[in-house]
Symmetry: none
DNA sequence: GATGAATGAGGTTTCATTCAT
DNA sequence: TATGAATGAAACCTCATTCAT
């Protein structure tokens, strides 16, 4: 509920009263469960980011081959951001509403995640001679492209998360595997 | 100044006193220039979005050939979001702080802009047999990838806006021109 | 525990949760022992004030002679405020946190106590020709001087309560017995 | 007005709304003049304590002779606490409502003041052979006796501040000058 | 006797906005 | 144009108290 409200109105525009009303209690009662509005946000951002990271790591386990590994990684990324788009977007956009210390903790997770993507790119370049003009830029570009799915995906839309994932992965691999000759 | 503050802290967390202090006047005096904080935001979002759209249209004028047209369009898009990243990000992220009517007006511009991108994709597919698995998805995916540059570009970074533009355009065209056989 | 907290932070700044935590229960459980925070304060103030008064009366029983009676009375007063300084100060300073009716009850005790002191002064003046410029003023002045010991006495200080008592009693009697000629 | 309320109800029981109502403005408007309730308290405590100290120093200037110097010092002390009893009591009793840093600053002034009193006692003992059983104890005892006048003095009472001052000074000197033989 | 969760009242503070000067 | 003071609405949060378990 807080997730939905933070998504719809942003952290600062969402009031404790609204959050409380959403679960049929009064504002003060929220404090029996969370010690502050900030902690509530942190809880959402943290668990979401952690799930995203853990899910990626888990899915990569035992997978061999640069192409398959990137495919698995990005597919998960897209599906995650589509199927949990509310929380995912909160974890993305409301980052700047986190207090400094909380932000720092979350950024550690995000850096870790991005590092994995970078390794996948580097590995493909080395192993399969992928066409990678600038690994740093492409790492973040591809990642944000997939992340942004949480921005425009709609539950009752034409495509499923998994279909969207496939489209984006194919688009990406098409480019990476392009003949650089 | 307001742009910088909205970028750093978000609309709702930025106070008129801060904005005023940034230009060495007092809060009340802001009202000699803008009739409300909301109007200030709208001014930023509107002019930024309009510049982005107008710039794209202008640069496409007289340009022929699907590849070159897409190249021109995306290059502008990236360069714009890099070199004006503060305003661009405000125009993007603070959209949800706009009041309904203001939001509607801005969305018209954004839709118009996105429609151009869609036409470029469709044209290339028809004219050059681009590999476009799903034009709707790729339209928005490529666009957001380029837009998100305003998220990670840094003025004193390794690459110039124009270099980044080239990398992303090449990445995109590599994929679109991939042999679908 | 409540006494210590009221002493350290004052009645209004002490929360029931803190009081409860001090005796390893939760806030709600306090109500199994006291019916309200106010009653808790009243209990402390009342018993402390009563002990002070009763102690004085008790020690005066059977004592003869104005000088000895004043000596006994003040000695007790100082020792009481030194050795029970926390409670004594709460009973003094937190008076204004008592609800009207409770306050009234306590003031009865305090008036009674002060009346005894006044009688001792008057008796000495009549009997021993003490130098008493203004009995009302000296009554309260001497009393507050001794009461304030609860303000600065420290358990591990240089002097014992009884030593301090003697110093103050001597100081007082020195003045009262001064030659007024 | 704040002084009166802090005096009557204590810092924590006085609300901003009450303070504001006392000067016919709304609660929020108070913040145009003070940045917090705490600052308001600090202002009162600080200026009051400073006035007390400065007044003492000023009145001692050029005065010769231990007896006269003590007389001048204590007279000022009593008159100050009688005539400004509200503020004086706030500066005394509400000390524990000050935040740590503010408290520390005020204690510096108070220590300075007490040091002067101590010097006066020591000087009289040395110069005039005053009967001082324990200078440390008597310093604080006499001082608190005079300070506590702010507790019981009433504007429309029987005696003026100056009359009370004389009574207490005489009482004190009577004792100090008592024949120790 | 103890507890966790709920509540309602209220507190301090923030802030966009107004307006007389 | 600029300002300082005022305001009203609302925000987050605290807390004594209640009560079902």
């Amino acid at each position: 509920m807080a997730t939905k409200l933070f998504y719809e109105k942003g952290y600062h525009s969402t009031t404790l009263r609204e959050i409380a009303a959403g679960v049929n209690i009064k504002a003060g009662s929220v404090y029996n469960h969370f010690s502050s509005k900030q902690e509530l946000l942190m809880h959402i951002v943290w668990t979401t980011t952690k799930d995203m990271l853990d899910g990626a790591v888990e899915r990569l386990e035992g997978v061999e081959g640069s192409e398959e590994r990137l495919r698995v990684f990005l597919t998960w990324h897209v599906e995650f951001h589509a199927s949990r788009r509310l929380a995912a977007q909160v974890a993305d956009v409301q980052l700047n509403a986190l207090e400094k210390e909380n932000l720092a903790k979350v950024l550690v997770l995000r850096d870790e995640h991005q590092a994995i993507m970078r390794e996948l790119i580097d590995a493909g370049q080395k192993e399969l001679n992928w066409s990678v003009e600038d690994p740093a830029v492409l790492t973040i570009a591809i990642l944000t492209m997939c992340t942004q799915v949480d921005t425009w995906y709609r539950e009752n839309g034409r495509l499923t998360p998994s279909q969207i994932g496939e489209i984006l992965v194919n688009f990406t691999l098409n480019s990476l595997q392009a003949d650089a000759s």
